[in-house]
């Protein structure tokens, strides 16, 4: 980076330190950046079970590839400095009285500003409706980043309570199930809410995380792309069994899903009648102090 090279101008005649640091840094980049992208990269979670988790995986790889040169620059610089500029022996000698260089400072500020703006733009693009539909994150009741024809997405209400996830299907007679089975290659709209305290619905392999907040309808979109199972966990501290609020979901074919939901409607017929009418939020009694 030019900042390092330019530093020698203010420092005096010895220009070789800067050049050496630059060369070491360049060599290190040539070695490590490809390693991060192609060797480490494929192993960075959350893999590719859905369009959203694939996006997040790509973002993580890109961020890692960008972070590596920065990390290497600081490490190389500090490593070089503490090796070469070390004062051996007991005597104490003062170094050259350099009090700063505005050109380097401005260059550094400009460089970091450019990087930051680029990162912010990149992150925002990752949220755009067309590409990722909010990247699997909870977006509240009125999501801005929607997939194409969001209205036809499969609606699933995710209900958190202490300490259980249940799932309600407004498109299938409002039946409620204790398991989550999803059709592959179809847009899903999760409506996450809670009956008591705050939880966070984390479908790890799907790349979905949305807080379940009482009184709030938190919408998150996902499009699964693989036939496989996925872990569901709670990612917000919710009391005693927070760490046990796990279950396993399945991504299946559309026909298998249709069979499963039809069976569930029959099986939970009796209890479905007792459920309150489908709503985005619930305020179940006893809402105040029970007794």
């Amino acid at each position: 980076m030019s900042a390092v090279g330019a530093m020698t101008d203010g420092a005096g005649p010895d220009v070789r330190h800067g050049r050496r640091i630059l060369i070491i840094w360049a060599v290190a980049n040539v070695i490590f950046v490809p390693i991060v992208i192609w060797v480490l990269g494929p192993h960075i979670p959350p893999y590719d079970a859905s369009q959203q988790s694939t996006d997040q995986h790509n973002v993580n790889v890109v961020l890692s590839a960008l972070a590596t040169p920065v990390l290497l620059m600081i490490w190389v610089y500090f490593g070089y400095s503490i090796t070469v500029f070390r004062q051996r022996g007991p005597e104490v000698v003062d170094g050259p009285p350099i009090e700063g260089d505005p050109r380097i400072q401005v260059t550094w500020l400009a460089a970091t500003t450019v990087i930051v703006i680029a990162l912010a733009v990149y992150g925002t693009v990752g949220l755009l409706p067309s590409s990722a539909a909010g990247a699997g994150g909870g977006q509240g009741p009125n999501p801005l980043s929607k997939p194409p024809n969001a209205a036809s997405a499969l609606q699933v209400q995710v209900i958190g309570q202490q300490w259980l996830w249940t799932f309600r299907w407004p498109g299938y007679g409002g039946v409620q199930t204790p398991y989550l089975v999803l059709p592959v290659n179809r847009w899903i709209a999760f409506h996450v809410t809670s009956l008591d305290v705050s939880h966070s619905f984390w479908a790890y392999e799907l790349g979905v995380k949305a807080d379940a907040i009482p009184g709030n309808d938190n919408v998150a979109f996902v499009r699964p792309t693989q036939l496989r199972s996925f872990q569901i966990r709670c990612a917000e501290l919710c009391g005693l069994w927070h760490g046990h609020m796990n279950t396993t979901g399945q991504i299946v074919s559309q026909s298998a899903f249709d069979t499963w939901i039809a069976q569930a409607r029959v099986r939970y017929q009796g209890v479905t009648q007792q459920l309150p009418p489908y709503s985005h939020v619930y305020y179940p009694a006893p809402d105040q102090r029970a007794g």
Partner: protein
Amino acid sequence: MSTTESPPPTAITKAPRFREQLIGFHLLWGVVLAALGYFVCHWLGTKIGNHIKGQTATDQDDIAVLLGFLGATLGWLIGLGFFNYPLSRMMGRPASLIEGEEYGVWRYFRLCTDHKVVAVQYFVAVLFFFGVGGLNAMLIRGELTSDNATFIQAGNYLTLVSLHGTMMLMMMSAGVLGPLGNYLVPLMIGARRMAFPRVESLTLWLTVLAGFMLISAIFLGGFPTGWTGYAPLSVEARAGMDAYLFSFALIGISLCLVGLNIIATVMTMRAPGLYWNRIPVFVWGMVTTSVLAVLAAPVLFAALYMAALDRTVETTFFLASNGGSPFLWYNLFWFFGHPEVYILALPGFGIVLEILPVFARKPLWGYRVAVAGMFGVALLSFMVWQHHLFVSGINANLRPFYMFTTELISIPTGIIFLIGMGTLWRARIRFTVPMLFCLAFFFNFLIGGLSGVYLSDVPSNVTTHGSYFVMAHFHYTIMGGLVFATIGGFYYWLPKITGFKLNETLGKIHFWMMFIFFNLTFFPLFAAGLLGMPRRVSSYNPSLHGLNVFVSISAWCLGLSLLVFLANIVWTQLLLREPAGPNPWLSKSLEWQLPSPVPSYNFERIPVINSAPYSYGIPDAPPVADFGTPARLPGGPAITPEGGVL
């Protein structure tokens, strides 16, 4: 509130005898009256609670518990003598600024207005509570050697995690402002005292009380919420929650007053010649931290107060079913919580940048940019709090804005790295123990900062939010950053505070153990988070078992390294007691020009400052300050460097 005259600091007279000491205002009576106050007010609270029966949120009589804590606080402060002065002022007696400085060793157990005594009290208190919080961490790692709760029950595990988090956050916020800030700010700016010496002592004793109150939560059934105290989980929790609310509120008050005191001191009490551009960068670190403390802590206080009302008189601030909203807590808490994160970072910047020039034997590279960077961090930290809520479903449309402001913080933080790099350029580096800790600060904070970029990026945040990735990230910034810098600072300044050397060899053993095992402990946790391990769980996916066992073993070794630190302190400061001399590091800073330990009046005469304390290598630099000439002619004083009263 009011003082008008200030008698000159008096020399210490002969301390009263032990028996005479027993009657009076000090720690013993503080403890006795605090216990008495708790039980009296608890009894009273039970009566009130019965009177409005059906209006208590839980059967744990929260009204009685909270009133008990209030009574304990009052009793504690009465016993320590904090009400004597206000009462005498209410009687119309004249103001004074000196109290308890003449009591010899007993100064350390009572209200004392000497800023150096308060700093030592702070040092002991913070070390003690840091030890308690650290042992909690050891127990946590013990439990996590198994993928299912075995050795500690799930509920107790949550209490343990909550205690660890809250204790560390509480004590580390005070960890630099208290001991080093109170000790060094007056010395570095050439003052004899802090602006409000009694308030300074008050903040200390409130911190001590708050620490013990927090520990008392385990006798009240614990609390399950972690340090974030999320409502409405906090509303339904047992009475241990009241201990969290009350002790955190006391810390909020204490933090706010510490900040107020430091800002007022720096604004009005600088020695002549100490212009704004000559103030040591450590003092700037304290000032920027104080700005955050003064403005953020009150919001925490208000939020905790609302939660306490929800639990006692059945208001509904945080209950969605009754016209409140959990988001209200999230916003208020994180409006405090994010500046709090920088309250835990800026002191580290200050310490590191102060120590670096001494051992690089070079002037600080880019002093003005460094100060601007600190202010930049302080200001930006008020504008980023919703990045803690990226997936919560609040204001999803503002996510790009908060992503941008969050990433903006890396610009002023990057400046700190630039300053460090510039200062090391062609330096004459000496690897003393404080210097090693400073260099480790840059290593750790870099990893912490870069992992923050993942968290600030919304798509990546969806996976990492609420996972061990976050936990590893903030341990890298707080423990790897602040704690490393603070320990470096203690190695650097302890010889000044006590007058005795620390052992270099033990110090280096401590450093290398701590550095290696810190990284072995927390780096694998980034992977644990990415692989799907949520925070604050006592049971996890069995596939992560090996990783967690490895981390636990590293964590215990990390704990052992701190025992080396403790042994070093006990051995060299209490047993060996080898005099350090006034300036063992050959520093040019003002405090090192004074004898070690510093006499009670600090400066015989207020010095006249000639330059910033970083003039290393400048051939004919004048001494940093002129101690000989009388700073003020009788009747013609200059209070601020600019020569006027503010």
